[in-house]
Symmetry: C2
Subunit: 459 residues, 2 copies
C-alpha cells in the first residue's frame, strides 16, 4: 500500500489534466453571457468530487449561482471536522487582447499554468479535493472528517452563501475552516494569513444648489458641494492616516508585543513593494511599521469622486451635486454596524447647513483573526514545513474575505488561511497563472495538514 | 427736423425687423457646423452699419472669426470718443427640444422677442447701432465720436480680439468704452455695473501610485490622491469662504464706507435669489453682505473633480490619479499673475511628498472697476433716468468680462457697462428672450447717453 503523498506524486499528470478541464469552463459569475458556464463548472465539480470518493455530493440551488457541497465523515466521532471553502467562479477575463494565450484555453508555459481562475480560486480549491482523493484511493480513509462548501459567487458579492450559512449550521458544523484563496510570500516561503481586515463601504451624495449655477453670479453666496466634500474628506482622515471619526478606535484590539514581533518577522521587501505600487514613497501612521499598517491597522480611503464639470477645458460651474465612494478597512474588534453609526453621525455633525449630504452604507463585514495556538494552525505550520522545507511566516492580510468573518460569527469557526498563490499570479488581471510546482506541493501540504491535524488531536 | 429719439420711436417696426433678421443667422461660434453662419452674421453687420451711416466699416480677418469695425469721427476734435463693444456670436442653442419656438426663428410672444442671442448680445449690441443711426438720419451728426468694435468669439474664448487690441491701440483709442452685455435689476429699474470680478482658472492633477491599486493590499501604506485632494481643497478655502492662500488678500482694495453704502442700496431680493439657486440657504463670509460677497469679494470654487472608480456600485480601488478644476474670482487690485504664483507656491507647500500635484494655470483676467465720478458714468446715469424714469442702481457684477479688464490695461479705458437685459432673459439657456420695451428704451437710452456725454464734456 502506498501513502497519500506518494499517490499524489504518481498522479501529477492526471491532477494537471483535471485542473485544465476545470479552467476551460468560463465560469464568470458577473457576466450574464456566462450564466450557463457557471452551472457547468458546478456540475463538473460534482462529478469530480463524487469520483474522488466524497459523499453526499450535491448541487444546492440558490437565488444566484449554485453551491456545491460534499463530505467524508468516517474518520470517527472523536476526530475533528474540517470545513473546506473555495469558489469555482472567476473574474471576467477582459481586456482579452492583453492575454498571451486565451484565458479559457489553459496553457502551460515554463513552470506556470496560464488561465483565468488558475490561482483564484480553481487551482487552490482543487488542491484539497485532490488531497482527499489521495487519502481515499491510497489508505482508504481520511484521518479527519472533511466537508466541502464551494460557492459560485465569490467574485460577485457572495450573497447566496451568505444567506445559506446561518440557515444550515448543522450541515456546515465543523471544528475549523480551511481556505486556500491567498498568496504566500515567494515560491519557497510559505505564509499563513491569520488575520483579515473587515470592511465598511459607503457612498456620499453631496447636494447643494438645485442646478448647476454660474460661479460668477453665485460664487461667494452659495456653498459649493465640491468644496464641502473636500472639507469632509479632510475631516475623516488626517494627513498621516489617522481616522478622525470620534470613537472609531475604541474597539480596536491593541497589537500585543508578541504580535508585533511576529509581524516584524514578515519578510516584506519594502523597496520592491513600493516599486510595484508605482508611488513616490510609502506613507502612513508613523507609530506603526508598514506591515502593521497594511494588515493590522484600520484605514479610510476615497475610491472615487465625480462632480461638476469634468470634460476637457474649463467651465465656471458651481455644481449642484457630487458623489464620493469611501470605505474603511476594519480590524478586530471593530463592529461594522457600530462604525457605520459613528460614521453617519460624524458626517452629519460636520456637514454645514448650506449643503445636504446623504450617506449610504453599501455593506460591511467584520475583520477576522485566528488564534495562532489552535491545533489546526500548528498542523498547518508543520505541514508547510514538511513540504516546503521552510517554516511559514504569519501575516495579517489587508484585504477582506467576508466569508471568513461569517464563519467566525455564524458557525463559531476559526479559519486557517493556507495559501498556495504567489504575489505575481496576476489574479483579476490578464495572464493570470498558477505556479505549478506549488499546485503539486499544495496537494501534499493539504495531505500533510489533514494528517498532522489528526495527530495533534490524538496526542 | 425731428430729434433722434423721435426718429427712433418712428422706426420701431424697422428696428424690430432688422434685429429679427440678425437673430435669424445662427452664428454659434463654438460649433464647426456654424462656421459660415458666423461670417454671414459679420457681413450682415457690415451692411447694416454702412447703411446706418457709419464709416470705415470693415471686416477684419483673424485666425478665428472676423472682427467688425466701424466709426463716425466727425463730432470734433474737442469732443470725446466712445468705443462701443459687443459680440455678434451666440451660445449653442442645444437642447433644442426645450425651445418653445425654434431658436433661430425669432418669434414675438407678448412683450418678448424669443431667439438665441436676443439678449446676449445681438439685441443689446444693435441698440447702439440704431442710436447712432437715429442721430445721423435725424440731425445729421452724432454729438460725440463713436467707434464700434464687435467680435465673433465672445462665447468661445475671445482670443482674436484679445490679440488684436494691443496691436491696434490707435485704431481703438477712445475716451471711454461702452458695453451693453449685462442685465439690469428689473423692467423699470436700470442698473450700471461698475465693477467686474477677474478670474484665475486652474487645473490640479494629483498623481499617486503608478496604477490603480487594491485598497486592501495597499491601503494604509500608500497615500491616496483623492484623500490628498480633499486636504488640498480644505486648505484652499475655509468653511466660511475665506481663502487661505498666504498673501491672497494683500492687494484686495478694501471696500470704502461710500461703496458699502452704494452696494447696500442694491435691491437684491434675497429670498427670490435663493429660490432661483435651489440651495438650502445662502452662505459666505459673515463680515460681508450677500451683495458684497457676490460682487466685491474674491471667491474660490471647485468646478469639477473626477478620480478613481465612479461607475455604479463600489470598487475598492486606491486610485492612481485625480483631476480637479478650481478657479478664483478676483477683485481689484489683485493681479492674476501674482495670484497664480501664490497659488502655485501654496499648493506645492501643502502637497505631501507621497503625492505629486501638477498645477496648470489655464487663464486669468484682472478684475475691473469704473470710477463712478467720470463724466461718462454721470451721462449714463442721467440717460437711464431720462428714459426709464428711475435712477440706476450701481452694482458690482460677480462674473467676468475679460475684455473690460483688457480695455483698462491695454487702452487705458474705463468702461460703462450699460445693460438692457433682464435677469430672466434665459441667456445661455433655452427660450432666450429680450424684453422688447427695453430694446426700444435701450436705443433711446443710448441716444440720451451720447448726448449727455457730449453736454457734460462741453460744460
Amino acid at each position: 500500500m502506498i501513502d497519500p503523498i506518494q499517490y499524489s506524486r504518481e498522479h501529477k499528470q492526471t491532477n494537471l489534466a483535471e485542473l485544465t478541464d476545470f479552467l476551460r469552463i468560463p465560469s464568470v459569475s458577473t457576466q450574464p453571457s456566462h450564466q450557463e458556464d457557471v452551472t457547468t463548472a458546478a456540475k463538473w465539480l460534482i462529478k469530480q468530487m463524487s469520483h474522488c470518493g466524497l459523499e453526499n455530493v450535491q448541487l444546492i440551488e440558490t437565488k444566484g449561482h449554485p453551491l456545491v457541497y460534499g463530505d467524508w465523515l468516517h474518520a470517527g466521532m472523536d476526530m475533528p471536522t474540517v470545513l473546506i471553502y473555495g469558489h469555482y467562479d472567476v473574474q471576467p477575463a477582459e481586456p482579452l487582447h492583453l492575454w498571451e494565450s486565451p484565458p479559457f484555453e489553459p496553457t502551460v508555459r515554463g513552470d506556470h499554468l496560464y488561465a483565468r481562475g488558475a490561482a483564484d480560486d480553481k487551482g487552490q480549491l482543487y488542491v484539497h479535493i485532490k488531497a482527499v482523493q489521495a487519502f481515499l484511493q491510497s489508505v482508504g480513509k481520511v484521518p479527519v472528517n472533511v466537508k466541502f462548501i464551494i460557492e459560485g459567487e465569490e467574485e460577485s458579492g457572495g450573497a447566496s452563501l451568505e444567506a445559506f450559512i446561518p440557515k444550515n449550521r448543522d450541515l456546515l458544523s465543523a471544528d475549523v475552516a480551511l481556505v486556500s484563496d491567498t498568496a504566500i510570500v515567494s515560491r519557497d516561503q510559505p505564509a499563513i494569513v491569520y488575520g483579515l481586515r473587515g470592511m465598511l463601504y459607503t457612498y456620499l451624495d453631496i447636494n447643494g444648489p438645485g442646478r448647476d449655477l454660474h460661479s460668477g453670479s453665485f460664487g461667494g453666496g452659495i456653498n459649493n458641494p465640491l468644496n464641502v466634500l473636500g472639507h469632509i474628506i479632510a475631516k475623516l482622515r488626517d494627513e498621516e492616516g489617522h481616522i478622525l471619526i470620534p470613537g472609531f478606535y475604541d474597539k480596536v484590539r491593541p497589537l500585543s508585543g508578541t504580535e508585533r514581533e511576529i509581524l516584524a518577522q514578515f519578510p516584506l521587501n519594502e523597496e520592491r513593494w513600493l516599486a510595484e505600487s508605482g508611488a513616490p514613497q510609502t506613507w502612513g501612521e508613523p507609530a506603526y511599521s508598514l506591515v502593521e499598517r497594511l494588515g493590522a491597522r484600520p484605514t479610510l480611503d476615497v475610491h472615487g469622486i465625480i462632480g461638476g464639470y469634468t470634460g476637457a477645458g474649463g467651465k465656471t460651474v458651481l455644481p449642484s451635486k457630487a458623489h464620493a465612494k469611501i470605505s474603511m478597512r476594519l480590524v478586530p474588534d471593530q463592529d461594522p454596524k457600530e462604525i457605520a453609526r459613528l460614521y453617519r453621525a460624524y458626517i452629519k455633525k460636520i456637514t454645514p447647513p448650506s449643503i445636504k449630504v446623504e450617506v449610504t452604507i453599501r455593506d460591511g463585514a467584520p475583520a477576522s483573526i485566528t488564534d495562532l495556538n489552535i491545533p489546526a494552525m500548528k498542523a498547518a505550520s508543520s505541514a508547510y514545513f514538511e513540504i516546503f522545507g521552510q517554516k511559514p511566516v504569519f501575516m495579517r492580510e489587508g484585504g477582506s474575505i467576508p466569508v471568513v468573518g461569517q464563519f467566525q460569527r455564524d458557525l463559531g469557526l476559526e479559519t486557517v488561511l493556507m495559501g498556495f498563490g504567489l504575489p505575481d499570479d496576476k489574479i483579476h488581471a490578464p495572464n493570470e497563472r498558477f505556479y505549478l510546482p506549488n499546485y503539486y506541493r499544495g496537494i501534499e501540504t493539504s495531505i500533510s495538514f489533514l494528517q498532522a491535524y489528526a495527530n495533534l488531536t490524538i496526542d
